[in-house]
Amino acid sequence: MITRRHLLAASALLPLAARGTPPELVRPRGRVVLTISGRIGVRNAADAAQFDMDMLAAMRQHSFSTHTPWYPQAHKFTGPLLREVLDAVGAHGRTLRAIALNDYTVELPVEDATRYPVVLARLFDDRPMSVREKGPLFIIYPFDSDEALRSERYYSRSAWQLKAIDVV
C-alpha cells in the first residue's frame, strides 16, 4: 500500500538527493524486500538502507517492454530506475554486488545504471512478481533498445529474485 506519507517523503527526498545533501530515508513499514549496504550515505537501519515494496513504489516509476532470454515474448517491466534508487541512498561506490534469494551473486558496474535506464522491476506486465515468477525484484536492462546489451554479459548481470545490493 502506498500511503500519502510515503509519497510526500519520497517526493521531498528526490530533489535533495539530486543536490547531494543526505536526505532522510523513512523506515520500512512492511516486509523488507531490498537491503542496500556498503558505501552509501543514507541509512535507515544499523548499517544499511532498507526498502519495503511501498517505498519503491512511491519512487518515480519507469517502464518499458523488452524481449528477454527468460521469456519467449516481450514483456513489460515497471519499477524505479536503479540509478535513482542508488541516489536515494547516496551510493558512492564503483561496483554493485547484486544478491539474489538463493544467494546467487553477480557484480555490475555502477556505470551501467548511469549509462542505461536500468530498471529495478517490481511489476511484470503490471502485476507484482512472486518468487516463483523471479520476483519480487528483477534488475532489467533495456535489451531491445541497444544491440550491445543483448549479450551474455548483460544477461548475467540481470539478477532476479533480488534481495540485496552491496555497494563496493
Partner: protein, 800 residues
C-alpha cells in the same frame, strides 16, 4: 616474305589466347578460394552465434541450481516437520516464511529447465520429459500445503507424508543433472568436431592458396623472362638496323662522292673537247671538214645536255640544287631564249613567235639561269615534236592567290605538234618517260627534261600543267609567282656585273642599245694585262684556258697541280699573280689544300685572288671552296662569257681589256700583226651603221650575223680568197660582189672598200693577186678582232 610475318604472328596470337585462358582460370580459382574462405568465416560466425543463443544462465548451471534448491528444500522441509511443533509462534512463523520462500525458489527453478527452453542447446531426451512430469506431479501435491493457495499456517502433519514424495525426487533430479552434463559434453564434442572440420578446410584452402601463389609466381617469372628475352631481341634488332642505316648512309655518301667525281671526270674532258672543237671551228677548214666538225660539236653539246640533265636530277634528288633568285630583266631573258630557239625552229621551217603581254613586268626576281633552262626545255620539246605549223611562247599574268602577293607570271608554250593521248599525259612527268617508246627512238633525249623542269618550277613556287590533243598540239603552262621588281637605277650595275652584255655603243658610250640594256662597256683604257695562273691537271684544259685568257689579252702561267701552283705563287714576290684559277680536284695537292696553303703565306702573296675551277656544280663544293678561302667559282665547261663576266666582276674593265699585251707574245701564239689598235675602230668599221643595225636587230642577232660572216658559213670569203690565190680573174668580180654586199651591210667599212675595189678592177688594179689576198686576209682578221673587241664576235684566236 609473306610467310615470315605470319610465322612470327602465330605464336604471339596463340600465346595471347593461352594467357587469356590462363587468366580466366586463375580468376575462377581465386573466386572459388575466396568463396571457400568466406563460407568458412560464416560457419565460424554461426558457431559463435550458437554460443550467444545459448541464453541466460547456462544450462548445466540451471540443472545443478535446481538440484541445489531441491536439496535445500528437502533439508528445510525435514527441519520444519521435525522442529515446528516445538517452536514458539514467532520462530515458527519465520521458519514457515523461509520454507515457503525456499519452496517458491525451487518451483521457479523448474520452469528454467523446461524442454521447450533447452531444446535449442540440448537434444530432446525422453528422461527429461519424464522427470519434468514427475516434478510437476510433486509440485501439485506440495502446493496443497506450501503453495500460494494453501492456508497461511503450514500444517506440519500434512507436510510429513509429503517428505517421502520429496525425497523420492532425489534420483530423478540427479539424473537430470547428469543428463545436462551429457548433453553439454556432446554439444562440446560436436562443436569441437565442427571447429576441427573447419580448421581442416581452412588448412586445405591455405595450402591451395599457397600453391596458387606459387603457380602465379612461376608464371610471373616466366613472363618476366620472356619480356627480357624480347627486349634483348629488340635491342639486337635495333643495333642491326642502326648498323644497316650507317652502312646505307655510307653507301649514299659514296654514291654522292662517286657522282661528284664522275661529274668532274666527265665534264673535264668535255670542257677540253668542246673548247678544242670551238677552236678548230675557227681555223680554215673545207666544207666537209666543217660539216664533220659541226656534227661532232652537236654530238658533244647533246651529250653535255644529257650530262647536265642527269646532274640536275641528282642534285634535285639530293636537295643540293639551290635557286639563286636575283633581279632579272624578263624581256632580255626572253630575248636570249628566242635567240637560241629561233634558229632551231627555223631549221624545221616552223613559225616561231614570242608574245609578251603589256602587263608583264620588265623586271622580276628570279633565278634567270633556271628559268631559261625551263623555257629551253619546254620550247625545245615543242620544236622537237612539231613537224609543221607553229611554236609559240605566250607570256602574260594571272592574278595572285592573295591580294598582297605579286600577280603571277604565266608562260604558255603552245605548239601544233603531234600531241599526246591521255595515257601519255599520265606518264609524262615520270622519269625517263618519253611519250611512248617509239618517240624515244625517233627524237632521242634523256626524258629527264620535263621532270627537271617541273621540279624547278615547283621550287620556284609554281607548277606546270599540260593540255594536249593527239594530232592537234600541246600546251604547257607554267605559272610562277615571280616577285616584281620596281627597281631604282642603282641596281643596274649589279645586274651588269652578273651578266655583262656586249657593248652596243661602238664609240665612247654615248647611248645604249635599246634591245640590249646591259652594261655599256666602259671605255677601253690602256691597262696592265692581268697575270693569271691557271692550275689544272688536264693538259687540254690548260691549253684551252690559256688560249681563252690570252685572247682576252692577259698573261697566263700554268701549273699542273696544287703543289706547283703554291710554289709559283710563293716565289712570285715582285709581281704577284692577279688571279689564280684553281681546279678543285687535282693530284698531289688539290685546289682546296693549295688555297689554304696560299692563304697561309705572308702578304701580299696570301691576298692573291683565287677562283675555283671545277666541274662540280654542287653547292656544297662551292661552300667548301669559299671555306678554303677561294673568292669565286667558275663552272666547267668554261664558257667564254662566264670568264668575261668573272674578270669584269673582279677587275672591272681591266679584266676585259683586249689591248695588246705589252710583253712579247709567247711562241705558241699566232702572229699579232693584225691586232686592233685603239682608234682603229672608226677606220675599220662603220660604227654608225653597226649601231643602227644593233638597235634594229638586237645585239644577239647582230652577233649571229657577224659570227656567220667571220666563220664564213657560206664559203664566199673562202671562194674569193681561193680565186685570188690562184690569181684567177674569172668569177672574181662575182665572188667579190657577194662578199662586199655582206661586209657593207654589216658595217665592215674597210673590208667592204677593199672588196669593192677588187670587184671593180679585178686583178687590173695594179697590186699582185697574192698581195691582195694577203691584204684581204689581214683586213678580215682585223675586222674580226675589232668586232670581237666590241663584243660582237668571238675572237678569231686559235691555238697554233
Amino acid at each position: 616474305m609473306s610467310t615470315l610475318p605470319a610465322f612470327a604472328l602465330t605464336p604471339a596470337l596463340s600465346g595471347s589466347r593461352r594467357v587469356g585462358r590462363l587468366l580466366a582460370l586463375m580468376a575462377l580459382t581465386l573466386a572459388l578460394v575466396f568463396g571457400g574462405i568466406a563460407w568458412l568465416q560464416s560457419q565460424s560466425l554461426r558457431l559463435l552465434s550458437a554460443n550467444v543463443v545459448y541464453q541466460g544462465d547456462n544450462l548445466v548451471w540451471s540443472f545443478f541450481q535446481l538440484e541445489t534448491e531441491y536439496l535445500r528444500l528437502r533439508h528445510l522441509a525435514h527441519e520444519f516437520v521435525r522442529e515446528a511443533p516445538h517452536l514458539p509462534a514467532a520462530a515458527r512463523a519465520a521458519l514457515e516464511a523461509r520454507l515457503r520462500e525456499r519452496y517458491d525458489i525451487f518451483v521457479s527453478r523448474i520452469g528454467l529447465i523446461d524442454p521447450a527452453r533447452t531444446q535449442g542447446v540440448m537434444p530432446d531426451f525422453p528422461e527429461h520429459h519424464r522427470v519434468m512430469a514427475e516434478l510437476a506431479a510433486v509440485v501439485d501435491q506440495v502446493d496443497r500445503v506450501l503453495g500460494p493457495e494453501a492456508p497461511p499456517e503450514i500444517d506440519a502433519a500434512a507436510l510429513r507424508p509429503l517428505l517421502g514424495t520429496i525425497d523420492g525426487l532425489a534420483t530423478s533430479v540427479r539424473e537430470l543433472s547428469g543428463l545436462s552434463n551429457r548433453a553439454v559434453g556432446e554439444g562440446i564434442v560436436s562443436r569441437n568436431e565442427a571447429v576441427r572440420q573447419q580448421s581442416r578446410i581452412a588448412i586445405a584452402l591455405t595450402v591451395f592458396q599457397c600453391l596458387l601463389i606459387l603457380v602465379f609466381a612461376v608464371i610471373v617469372v616466366r613472363q618476366v623472362r620472356a619480356l627480357e628475352q624480347r627486349r634483348l631481341e629488340l635491342e639486337a634488332l635495333a643495333r642491326r638496323l642502326q648498323e644497316a642505316r650507317v652502312e646505307a648512309e655510307q653507301a649514299s655518301r659514296a654514291k654522292s662522292a662517286f657522282l661528284a667525281n664522275m661529274s668532274h671526270e666527265l665534264r673535264t674532258p668535255f670542257n677540253g673537247m668542246l673548247g678544242m672543237l670551238s677552236m678548230l671551228d675557227r681555223s680554215p677548214l673545207d666544207a666537209q671538214q666543217r660539216e664533220h666538225l659541226q656534227i661532232a660539236r652537236q654530238s658533244g653539246e647533246h651529250l653535255l645536255t644529257i650530262l647536265n640533265d642527269v646532274l640536275d636530277l641528282s642534285k634535285l634528288e639530293s636537295a643540293h640544287l639551290d635557286l639563286a633568285p636575283q633581279p632579272v630583266d624578263l624581256p632580255r631573258l626572253l630575248g636570249e631564249v628566242e635567240a637560241l630557239m629561233r634558229p632551231q625552229a627555223r631549221a624545221k621551217s616552223l613559225h616561231f613567235e614570242i608574245t609578251v603581254d603589256a602587263a608583264v613586268p620588265a623586271r622580276v626576281e628570279a633565278d634567270g639561269k633556271r628559268l631559261k633552262q625551263v623555257l629551253f626545255n619546254l620550247l625545245g620539246n615543242a620544236i622537237k615534236f612539231t613537224d609543221q605549223g607553229r611554236v609559240g611562247l605566250l607570256v602574260d599574268t594571272v592574278p595572285a592567290a592573295t591580294p598582297e602577293a605579286s600577280p603571277r607570271v604565266r608562260l604558255r608554250v603552245v605548239d601544233s605538234g603531234i600531241g599526246m593521248d591521255e595515257a601519255t599525259l599520265q606518264r609524262l612527268f615520270q622519269r625517263f618517260s618519253q611519250g611512248d617508246d617509239s618517240i624515244g627512238r625517233r627524237f632521242g633525249g634523256t626524258g629527264l627534261g620535263l621532270e627537271i623542269s617541273r621540279e624547278l618550277v615547283r621550287m620556284m613556287g609554281g607548277d606546270i600543267q599540260v593540255t594536249s590533243q593527239p594530232g592537234v598540239g600541246s600546251e604547257f603552262v607554267a605559272v610562277l609567282p615571280l616577285p616584281w621588281r620596281v627597281d631604282a637605277p642603282e641596281s643596274e650595275p649589279e645586274a651588269a656585273a652578273s651578266a655583262p652584255g656586249p657593248a652596243c655603243d661602238p664609240a665612247e658610250g654615248t647611248h645604249a642599245c635599246a634591245d640590249a640594256p646591259g652594261p655599256v662597256a666602259a671605255p677601253v683604257l690602256p691597262a696592265r694585262p692581268l697575270d693569271i695562273l691557271v692550275t689544272d691537271d688536264h693538259q687540254i684544259n690548260q691549253k684551252f684556258m690559256r688560249v681563252l685568257l690570252e685572247s682576252l689579252g692577259h698573261r697566263v702561267s700554268l701549273a699542273l697541280d696544287g703543289q706547283d701552283a703554291f710554289e709559283q705563287v710563293r716565289t712570285r714576290t715582285e709581281v704577284p699573280f692577279d688571279l689564280v684559277l684553281m681546279d678543285v680536284h687535282m693530284p698531289v695537292m688539290d685546289g682546296l689544300a693549295a688555297t689554304r696553303a696560299i692563304r697561309a703565306l705572308p702578304s701580299p702573296m696570301n691576298e692573291t685572288r683565287i677562283v675555283a675551277l671545277t666541274a662540280d656544280a654542287f653547292t656544297e663544293v662551292r661552300a667548301r671552296a669559299s671555306e678554303a678561302g677561294m673568292s669565286d667559282f667558275l663552272a666547267k665547261p668554261v664558257q667564254v662569257h662566264e670568264v668575261e663576266a668573272l674578270l669584269l666582276r673582279h677587275f672591272g674593265v681591266r679584266g676585259v681589256n683586249r689591248a695588246l699585251p705589252s710583253l712579247p707574245a709567247p711562241a705558241s701564239r699566232p702572229a699579232r700583226s693584225t691586232r686592233p689598235r685603239r682608234g682603229d675602230a672608226g677606220r675599220v668599221l662603220d660604227l654608225e651603221l653597226i649601231s643602227d643595225t644593233c638597235a634594229l636587230l638586237g645585239v644577239e642577232r647582230l652577233r649571229t650575223l657577224l659570227q656567220a660572216f667571220f666563220s664564213d658559213d657560206s664559203g664566199a670569203v673562202a671562194q674569193l680568197l681561193a680565186l685570188l690565190a690562184q690569181a684567177s680573174a674569172e668569177g672574181l668580180p662575182m665572188a667579190a660582189h657577194r662578199v662586199r654586199g655582206t661586209a657593207a651591210t654589216l658595217g665592215l667599212k674597210q673590208l667592204a672598200a677593199t672588196v669593192a675595189d677588187i670587184e671593180q678592177h679585178g686583178l687590173d688594179a695594179g697590186d699582185p693577186a697574192e698581195a691582195l689576198e694577203q691584204q684581204l686576209r689581214q683586213q678580215i682578221e682585223l675586222s674580226w678582232r675589232m668586232c670581237a673587241r666590241m663584243g660582237w664576235a668571238t675572237p678569231p684566236d686559235a691555238p697554233a
